[in-house]
């Protein structure tokens, strides 16, 4: 569904991504691991159009999306979360989730402007219902009307996921969704990611929690210094000597 070939990106002298090839198959949970600074977030940034890669191409479904604008890519069905939970503090949780849906600007403006007074927008209430359902799914239904700035770290991550999901993406990129979480929360996140997959969304997860990632993923890619050093099913990866050396450490 997503096919990356020869993707390169450098910052000055630093080669953050070096001719990375990656195939992400429909319906899978695809794990990406790699030491710090190996280019995982950069890879996400390239896929979502926030950085312009220097070389290589990214194909999503039928289109070559290399160099597209981030908002266009997001609306084509690729959504992401951020490593540091970025929420909008001045809005409530449910509004934050609802902010994930964004129709074209003109269409929204029309929806807002050309309606009789006191007629609620059908689109708007539909979005709200969807937001509620998704909050229920991530287990935050009771927090719907809390202010985003009052949330703790773990909850922020969940809201981020919910916000990405409400747009019904076909590909979801999660950047360390479980970082800073305790075992219990982590299990919850794991469960949520599985549910997401059941909804038919392909998921790419970056995480440093090897145990969770290996449990979860159907396929794992390992990056190191911007290069792909290994790829395979989790069991295989866990035994790969290069991975052991570069990432897992030999215990």
């Amino acid at each position: 569904m997503l096919e990356i070939t020869g993707l390169s990106k450098s910052f000055g002298a630093l080669q953050a991504l070096d001719r990375v090839d990656l195939r992400i198959q429909q319906g899978r949970i695809h794990g990406i691991i790699g030491p710090n600074g190996s280019g995982k977030t950069t890879l996400f940034n390239c896929i979502t159009g926030m950085l312009k890669p220097e070389a290589g191409s990214i194909r999503f479904e039928a289109n070559d999306i290399t160099g597209w604008k981030p908002e266009v890519i997001a609306n084509r069905g690729i959504r992401r979360t951020f490593q540091a939970g970025k929420l909008i503090p001045g809005m409530t949780v449910i509004e934050n989730v609802m902010s994930g849906v964004n129709d074209p600007v003109g269409q929204v403006a029309r929806d807002a402007a050309f309606r009789l007074p006191f007629v609620p927008s059908r689109r708007e209430s539909e979005i709200e219902d969807r937001a509620r359902r998704i909050l229920l799914m991530v287990g935050l239904e009771l927090s719907a009307s809390r202010w985003a700035s009052d949330l703790v770290w773990a909850e922020r991550q969940l809201v981020q996921i919910a916000r990405a999901l409400i747009a019904e993406p076909r590909l979801l990129l999660l950047d360390e969704p479980a970082s800073g979480m305790g075992t219990k929360e982590m299990e919850k996140v794991e469960e949520i990611i599985r549910k997401v997959r059941e909804m038919g969304v392909t998921v790419v997860v970056v995480s440093h929690d090897v145990k969770m990632l290996m449990n979860l993923s159907d396929w794992v890619t390992v990056l190191n210094f911007g290069e792909r050093i290994a790829e395979g099913v989790p069991e295989q990866i866990q035994k790969d000597p290069r991975v052991l050396e570069a990432y897992l450490g030999i215990e």
Partner: protein, 303 residues
């Protein structure tokens, strides 16, 4: 209606509309002072149309709106997604350039200004009621639109853009398009306001459109609160009206009072007097009274 009340109401309405024109792009952190230049450009053009070309007021007003929209749109094509500072400075720069152009344009009175705008509908009282009707009609309409906007996808998108650009684009929002929409909207409004402003005064002078307008608008929007439209709506008449009631000795320190108020509000209540939380609190209170289902915004006790 008494004359002072008319002027008070009319100028208040312009201040409300103009503060809203400032408010709308500021939702995405664009402090867009271009609107003041727009007021001048549209106002002078309309005056020229009425005085020299003898066109009817309605047409001139329409032209004001259109001109505002066109200029706003053209500029927004460049700064629709620019950082705050760039927007601020572009606005100020435009004010300067506009001034210079008007100064040197004899057809609109140059540095002397214009006088003799006719009463709409002939008699002074018809004129006044027409102006008020148009102004408050606009206030209602624009307030309604902004309220809609704030509670729509666009409002949420603007809030996101206020915080973080990357976040916003990752939500599938075309910042530039949104910036163009908001800026054009506010410039359109400002264009119309400029025409009406002139027809309130029945005259034009360059100094109607300078930094004191900017000062008033800034005070209104930041003291009232820049997170909802209600703060502006309340602050505009209060900030403009209350000093008129001061005795002369106090009133002569009006600017100092404005400045001090601005500082106090920023220090004690940086989001202004009326905040979203406050409004949501009231909304949920009202709807609870009316026995509706609890809105999404009901504050909830933390555990």
């Amino acid at each position: 209606m008494s004359l002072p009340l008319y002027y008070f109401l009319a100028i208040t309405a312009v201040n409300i509309l103009m503060s809203w024109a400032l408010y709308v792009p500021y939702r995405m952190a664009h402090l867009h002072f271009l609107i003041v230049a727009n007021m001048a450009i549209s106002g002078y053009t309309a005056a020229y149309m009425v005085l020299s070309l003898h066109l009817p007021f309605g047409l001139a007003l329409l032209a004001g709106f259109v001109l505002g929209a066109v200029i706003g749109f053209a500029v927004a094509l460049f700064i629709g997604d620019a950082p705050t500072f760039a927007v601020v400075i572009v606005g100020f720069t435009f004010i300067y350039i506009t001034r210079t152009v008007i100064e040197n344009t004899e057809a609109v009175g140059g540095t002397m200004g214009l006088f003799g705008l006719p009463n709409i509908g002939g008699s002074p009282s018809v004129h006044r009621w027409t102006i008020l009707a148009i102004l408050y009609g606009l206030v209602a309409l624009v307030g309604f639109l902004i309220h809609r906007f704030d509670h729509s996808q666009l409002g949420r998108a603007a809030s996101a853009a206020f915080i973080d650009k990357d976040l916003t684009t990752s939500l599938g929002i075309d910042i530039k398009k949104m910036g163009i929409l908001l800026q054009t909207f506010s410039c359109t409004l400002a264009g119309g306001c400029g025409v009406l402003y002139g027809f309130i005064y029945k005259s034009f002078h360059l100094d109607y459109f300078t930094f004191h307008v900017v000062g008033i608008l800034m005070t209104v929007i930041f003291v009232g609160g820049y997170t909802t439209l209600w703060g502006t709506l309340l602050a505009a008449p209060v900030l403009y009206g209350v000093p008129l009631l001061f005795p002369p000795e106090v009133a002569s320190w009006r600017i100092v009072i404005y400045g001090a108020l601005l500082i106090i509000v920023l220090v004690l209540k940086p989001e202004g007097f009326i905040t979203t939380r406050f409004v949501y609190g009231i909304e949920s209170f009202l709807s609870r009274k009316r026995g509706k289902r609890t809105p999404l915004t009901k504050p909830q006790e933390d555990v």
